[in-house]
Symmetry: C2
Subunit: 235 residues, 2 copies
DNA sequence: CAGTGGTCTAGACCACTAC
DNA sequence: TAGTGGTCTAGACCACTGC
């Protein structure tokens, strides 16, 4: 095989194999050392190609496990007009939710401010991770004021929390403030999704207001290549 | 100076200097080779530290020019409730706009579909770049149907296009469909912002509907570490 | 335990920027 | 032209995963 002397060439070759379907979405790429040998390049070169394709959203890695072909993005309305599970079904994709923890705790300082909590006041804190078609792509960290959501932790927390708020607690009309930014994952967050510390993610923060008062804060971290947000507005 | 043998240590040291204010926002970091020598590490190690901090949004690079300390993010409402210039002023930041091109052209296929154009129908295409506090952070590519925006290219295109639509063309009520995703910059896009091909960006696509008909498509590419989007919704 | 990616060294040359 | 980051080689050892 003729050596491909630049990482762009290596990337282009892999890209062609992905687009042609030779490498199917979700399948594992050859190991870095195999690629070096097969393409006649150094390992740094091969790795640079991988990082480039990762940036393009064409491949992703599971920490120390290998590189995989990325599936198509998941389209999602961050203002929660529809349930995320319904959205997944509508696009023919499988959504899996796992509860990581649910307990009383004092949240991070930024959340304390938003919820206007007393200094050491605790809230119901729920963290979950979600997989689309078998890949962990979303980490959720939600904080609920106890006075607005009494005995929340005794409920079933594996389904839609939005539906729970509406049906169990009767919050029909909610105002939202949504913030979206690029954000790297912390070590702990990354571990839950099986990716590297610092992996790029989209961070979505939802401030839930009922009668002008903030009763809950929800934070979502989506792997950057897994999601497209779509919403409606007007002027 | 004691050698810092891992890139995490190198990154931590730089991070401390940035947080302490020794390295001020916008200022240039020492060159990679200077850092290698000063800290007693190899250049790969130093570069890995830079890439790590870049991912954290703490520093950014101008292509082949050097590394700089990143300023704080710019907060912005993508549904355009307010003019971006007003938002900038409200946060005490300086916004500069440069018109890159304004001409009739046939847009990319995806835009043709959204605007429901005839096969080779042209639209008014406007591209601009914008700087916040002197750093180019935003590239805009806008496409306007000629029948909805006649003689648009003869107007002043350096100000708010939203205001122009409202005042000159009388579009008071507009529905928007907004899509937000992570996206790497193409070579050409990257050049306009003086960054590397493939740099991570947030892509914002705005579909402007008047009476249920799509009359304009606006695409924005923001450098990933420069922006936080904030919007309001309700259920 | 074998295989993977993650980290690291000590060099080298190239393309481009700023002056 | 000097200095920058961008690319590349040919190795090495480590930490972790999966069997």
């Amino acid at each position: 095989m003729t050596p491909l002397s630049t990482y762009h060439a290596v990337a282009a070759r892999l890209q062609a194999e992905i687009r042609s379907g030779e490498l199917a979405p979700g399948s594992k790429l050859p190991s870095e050392r195999q690629l070096c040998e097969r393409l006649g390049v150094s390992r740094v070169n091969a790795r640079d190609a991988m990082h480039y394709l990762e940036g393009q959203g064409l491949i992703y890695r599971l920490n120390r496990r290998g590189w995989y072909v990325a599936p198509s993005v998941f389209i999602y309305d961050p203002t929660r007009s529809h349930s995320i599970r319904d959205e997944a079904q509508a696009h023919g994709r499988h959504l899996h939710t796992e509860l990581l923890s649910a307990r009383q705790e004092t949240p991070p300082q930024a959340v304390v401010s938003l919820l206007q909590l007393a200094p050491r006041e605790a809230v119901a804190a729920i963290s979950r991770r979600r997989a689309v078609d078998g890949r962990w792509v979303l980490l959720e960290l939600c904080y609920f004021r106890n006075d607005a959501f009494p005995r929340l932790l005794e409920e079933d927390l594996t389904g839609s929390l939005t539906a729970l708020a509406r049906q169990r607690y009767g919050y029909q009309h909610r105002e939202l403030v949504v913030r979206i930014a690029s954000s790297p994952l912390s070590e702990q967050q990354a571990q839950h999704l099986h990716v590297r510390d610092g992996s790029p993610a989209l961070r979505l923060e939802r401030e839930v207001l009922v009668d002008g008062r903030c009763v809950a804060v929800e934070r979502e971290y989506w792997l950057h290549d897994a999601i497209e947000m779509q919403l409606r507005g007007h002027t």
